[in-house]
Every structure is written in C-alpha cells, then in structure tokens.
C-alpha cells in the first residue's frame, strides 16, 4: 500500500529546514546557546577582556627616567594610591560622588513620584521627554555653559544679587570645603553641575520602581489606619529603595569616572577621572592610570554589597 506517499513527498521537500527546527525545538539549550554565544563572546572579549587587560597594566613598572613602561611586575602603583597626594584625590572624588548621589536622590524623588503616580498619557510623555532631552544635548556644551552661568558676573550671580541674597552667597562661599572665590570655582558649583548632569539617571529608575508599586498597597496602608506620611515611610520609601539604589549606582559611578566637570568647574585639584586622564594622556604613565581605574571598581563593589546587605534588592 502506498497511501502515505503524498505525506512522504512533502516531508522530503521540507526536510532540512523541518529537521533543523524540530532539532532546535527538542534541544532548547542548543537553541539558546546559538543565540547567546556570539553576543557573549563579544561581551567577554571587548568588555571584560579589555578591562582585565587594562587592570593588568597596573602591575607593570613605569620608569620615570625614560618615561616608558617596563614589563616588570610590581605592586608599587597600587601602594602609591595611598600616598597622601593620591589618597586626597580619592577622598575628594568619593565625597563628591556621595554628595551628588544624595542630592540627586532628594531632587529626583518628588519628580519621579509625580511622574509615576499622577501623570498619564500625554503628560507622562511630556515628563519623559523633559527628563531625557537634556541628555540628548552635548555633554561638553552643557558643562561649558555652566562655567559661564556660574562665573563671576554670570547669570547665577546676577540672579542672587537681584534677590538681595548676595550676603548669603558670600557666607556660603566662605564655608571651607564647600565654597570658593566664586560659584564657578567652588565645590558647591561643581556639585550643582554634577547634579544637573546626572539627575535623569536618578529620576528614571526611581520612577520605574514607583510605577511598579500597586495602588492597592497604598490603599491597604491607608485602610489599615496609616496617615499619608506613615504610608510614605512604611510602604512607599522601602519599596522605592531598589530604584534609588539603581539610580545612585549611576550617579555614584558616573561622578567617580568623570574628568570634564572637575576640570571646568570648581577649585583646582584632580578627580580620579581627571587623574587617569592626566596619567595616561599627558604623562604616559599607563600603569598608574590603570591602578587608579581599579579604585571606582572596588568602591562600587563595596557600595553594592553594603546596599544589598541593607536589603535594597529584597523587594525586586
């Protein structure tokens, strides 16, 4: 009997593709690895490989006399990080990064809260664009613009004068560690500019975290007798901490690595980023630059483990 003939012909015709797709269907791991291996190779080689290679440079020796890198292994570069001059740079950068993260979180939270809970449709789209549009403009132009805005005789000073707040500004600029001769050469000015530049990176994760908060949780809290501030402290804030943590990872690490804002605004003195830039660009001391690169990585790792221990990711 040859009843099955038409089916057999069809099977032969579609044979190769059919067999391939049923093979992939039967072996989902093979399918997954076919999809994942190319990007993983790219990621491994281009990102992690080059990073490890860079860090490896940190154990090479830089000969001050000939200004060349010698392939002799040493830990001198890493111990040099703890010399007062270098350690000052680290402390200066880290304290600015912490201040910027806290400041951004304080400013971002109300905006993110409003976006997540009170806007819909077009208003929400407007807020998204308003938050992200500054990120589309050139970073360098914005940083330069701020030097002019904050400079002596600039818009910021003009505004303060017209508000009659010049004595207050003078007082603030007089505080050691915060002030400087003008806003554009003060730590405060640098702080403002960092917050300005990184704020969107803080708003969006917090907004996403608040967006995920089911309204019924807030109603339940109120139903159980919590006043609005209690609901905020007991429910909204704890559940938005993953968002704040994610945002602060951005602001913290971006501030640690930045080398343009510290050069343009604020008092003289290196940041980690500008130090790396100076070491490898002007001086050619690649090993020392590599050693400095390790600092943000270690700091972020410490930061993440602290945040995790605080339970920031439990609600994810």
């Amino acid at each position: 009997m040859q009843i099955s003939t038409p089916i057999a012909v069809a099977e032969q015709r579609q044979g190769v593709m059919n067999r391939l797709s049923s093979l992939l269907y039967r072996k989902p791991n093979l399918y997954l690895s076919m999809l994942l291996i190319p990007p993983l190779v790219w990621f491994g080689a281009i990102y992690l490989g080059s990073l490890l290679n860079l860090l490896w440079q940190g154990v090479y020796t830089f000969d001050d006399f000939s200004m060349t890198v010698l392939p002799e292994l040493t830990t001198a570069n890493f111990t040099a990080l703890f010399q007062p001059a270098n350690f000052d740079i680290i402390v200066r950068t880290v304290s600015m990064a912490i201040a910027v993260s806290i400041g951004s979180a304080l400013i971002a939270f109300p905006i993110a809260y409003y976006m997540a809970r009170y806007t819909t449709g077009k208003t929400k789209a407007f807020f998204y664009i308003a938050v992200m549009m500054p990120m589309w403009a050139s970073y360098i132009v914005k940083a330069y613009a701020w030097t002019l805005l904050l400079a002596k005789g600039g818009v910021a000073q003009w505004f303060v004068e017209h508000m009659g707040l010049t004595p207050l500004l003078q007082f603030i600029l007089g505080i050691p560690g915060v002030g400087g001769s003008t806003l554009s050469t003060s730590h405060l000015g640098r702080f403002f500019v960092f917050i300005y530049i990184w704020l969107p990176f803080m708003i969006l994760p917090i907004q996403a975290a608040l967006e995920r908060l089911p309204p019924s949780l807030l109603q339940a809290s109120s139903d159980l007798g919590a006043r609005p501030w209690q609901t905020f402290v007991q429910v909204i804030l704890p559940l938005s901490i993953p968002g704040i943590a994610a945002g602060s990872i951005f602001t913290f690490s971006l501030t640690l690595g930045d080398f343009i804002v510290p050069q343009l605004i604020g008092p003289p003195g290196y940041f980690i980023g500008s130090m790396v830039y100076a070491q490898q660009g002007a001086i050619g001391n690649m090993p020392m630059a590599a050693a400095f690169t390790l600092v943000p990585i270690v700091l972020i790792a410490i930061y993440l483990s602290v945040v995790k221990r605080l339970g920031a990711f439990d609600a994810l």
């Binding site: 949780l217 339940a220 109120s222 139903d223 159980l224 007798g225 919590a226 559940l239």
Partner: protein, 346 residues
C-alpha cells in the same frame, strides 16, 4: 438594631458613566451582606465608597451613624480584604498583620501578640516569619484576612476575596469566612460576581445591575421570589417568559419567571393547578446531579427544564432529541416579575 452602613441616594459618576446611580441601602449591624452583580455593575465601587477610596458624587454614606463622606480611609473604622490581597512584599507575614496596630501606635509586644493571635484565628500560626511571596494564594488570602481582623473593625469589607482561588479552596474558605463572621459578630460586606457564593454565605444579598440595585433580600427570597427579570436570570437560571405566552398562562402581560427544576414532563391529564406548554426537545446536557433539557417552544422561544437524575433515570421511556414533549408546572411556581423601569430606560 443600629445600621452598620447606610447609603442614601448615593451616586458616583466617572466622566459620563454613572458607576453607582442613586443607590440606597441599609446594612444591619452584625449582618453578612453580599453585593452581587456582573462586572461593571457598581458593586465594587460601592465597597470602595465605604472604604473611602472613592468619594460619592452625590448622596450620603453613614457608617455606624457617622457621616463618612469627606473622611479619609484611615479615619474610618472599617477594614478591607483586597482582591489582590495587597500584602506588603517587603514585610514578613507578622509585620503585615501587625501593620494596622503599628501605625496606630500600639506597643511592640502587644501588637506582635495580637498579630500572632490573628494568625492563629486564620490557621496560620507559625507562619509569621515568612514573606508573602513564600505563601500560596490561599495562605495569602488568610494573611490579608488576619491583617484586617487584627484591627477589630466594626465593618469588614471583602472585595471578591475568593476570586483567585480554585474551586475546592474557595468552598472551604466560604465556610471558614461564614464561621468567622458568626464568631466575631462583625458586619461583613462581601462583594462577588458568583451567585452561589453570595447565596450560600449571606444573610442578605443586594443584586446590582448597571449601577443600580435591582433587589435586596435574603438568599431564599432572592431565588424563590426574584423581583425583576435581571435577578431571575442572574441568580440561578430561570425561564423568563413574557408577552403572548405570559398573557395566555397568567392572564397578565407581566413577564414571569419559572425555574427549570420546577418544570416536569407532562404525564396524564393536566389539572387546573398546572399549566402546560409543548415544544420540541433540541438539547440534552448531562450535568451529574441533574440533566438539563432545552425545549424549543411553538413560538420559537427556549424553555430550560432541569430534572434531578434520580427521577430521570427511573423514567420508563428515555427522552430523545427531536421528540415532541409537553412541559408542565404548578401555577404557584410562577413568579411575576416587574421590569425595573429605571434600569431598562438607560
């Protein structure tokens, strides 16, 4: 008896939708009161009006005699069990249950004791250290119940709390809820779209349709004496006959309802206490406890007949599809219905 909740001409309008339309209800203290209706009928909005999550566009809501319009949820002596349970994911079960006491400033040892006691009441003693995510749906449901009851509210609102549970668990929870309500003597206001649930648990049921109340009555009266065609068809199944057939059988053009299980297949001559209609059998569904027959009447309308299988299986001649049969029922089983003019008009 004082009234636990009193609605007087309450409306809630969203844009041009009247979600709740001039509703007046009196809910007695200590009563198990259900709000039954299809989705979008306004029952959940009514519950949210009592809880304070919604505010009425017009009318007055009194909770234990106190005008509640304008009061925030945290100022009301009512607690809610939410449809999605709304447990706080970042707190363990004990802290979830103790939350209401914590925000009211009850001391730590007392609130933890009371939380443990409430967990015991819902058979979850010893689960305090778990996170809500580690519990099954039924267990979360109980935690939500304990979290509401620990505050000893005078009125407990339940928003389709059993909707997400499977049938067996749902039936078990129905029994437990009813038992708890009897024990505690708290007014339960229970929202559901499941009519068997409403009938089996409630002291009284309000049937909602399109933002209005069609009938408020005991389960028995709701089933035996439905007031409107909507109630007759929504609560249980019913044959609603109107027009010429109604005129012929009852002498009045008012629609009437006859329950499928009150109809028999005619054998022998009809007496004056019975009425008869004949038609063609076009569907037979075996449903376990009963068998459902669908009859196409001479005027094209459908008539459902339900026979308990103990009766049907002993019948001498089994019925077959396409057979001409005569249905017969006692006159007193017919319930005259009143079209709810306001509902029909919209």
């Amino acid at each position: 008896m004082t009234l636990a909740v009193q609605f007087t001409d309450v409306s809630r309008v969203f844009g041009d939708v009247r979600a709740v339309d001039r509703v007046s209800i009196d809910i007695q203290d200590g009563e198990f009161f259900s709000m039954l209706g299809p989705s979008g009928s306004g029952k959940t909005t009514c519950l949210r009006l009592i809880a304070g999550f919604e505010h009425p566009s017009a009318g007055s809501i009194r909770i234990h005699g106190v005008e509640a319009v304008g009061l925030a949820p945290y100022q009301r002596d009512v607690n809610t069990v939410f449809q999605d349970y709304a447990l706080f994911p970042h707190m363990n079960v004990r802290d979830n249950v103790a939350y209401g006491l914590k925000v009211k400033g009850v001391g730590k040892s007392e609130r933890l004791n009371r939380a443990e006691e409430a967990l015991g009441m819902v058979a979850l003693a010893g689960y305090g250290d778990r996170k809500p995510a580690q519990l099954s749906g039924g267990q979360r449901q109980r935690v939500a119940l304990a979290r509401a009851l620990v505050n000893r509210p005078r009125v407990l609102l339940l928003d389709e709390p059993l909707g997400a549970l499977d049938l067996k668990l749902r039936e078990q929870m129905q029994g437990e809820l009813k038992k708890l309500q009897r024990q505690l003597g708290i007014t339960f206001i229970f929202v559901t779209h499941d009519q068997t649930e409403a009938l089996s648990m409630s002291d009284r049921v309000a049937v909602f349709n399109k933002g209005r109340i069609e009938q408020v009555d005991t389960p028995r009266n709701l089933y035996m004496k439905p007031a409107t065609p909507f109630v007759a068809e929504f609560v249980g199944t019913s044959n609603v006959l109107r027009g010429e057939i109604a005129q012929r059988l009852t002498g009045s053009a008012q629609p009437f309802s006859i329950r499928p299980e009150h109809i028999q297949f005619a054998e022998g001559a009809a007496s004056s206490e019975h009425v008869e209609l004949s038609g063609v059998l076009h569907d037979i569904q075996y449903q376990g406890a009963a068998t459902r027959f669908e009859l196409k009447l001479d005027n094209g309308e459908n008539l459902s007949i339900s026979q308990a299988n103990s009766q049907w299986e002993t019948q001498a001649q089994p019925l077959t599809l396409g057979q001409q049969v005569t249905a017969r029922w006692p006159r007193e089983a017919m319930v005259t219905l009143h079209d709810n003019a306001a509902t029909e008009a919209r």
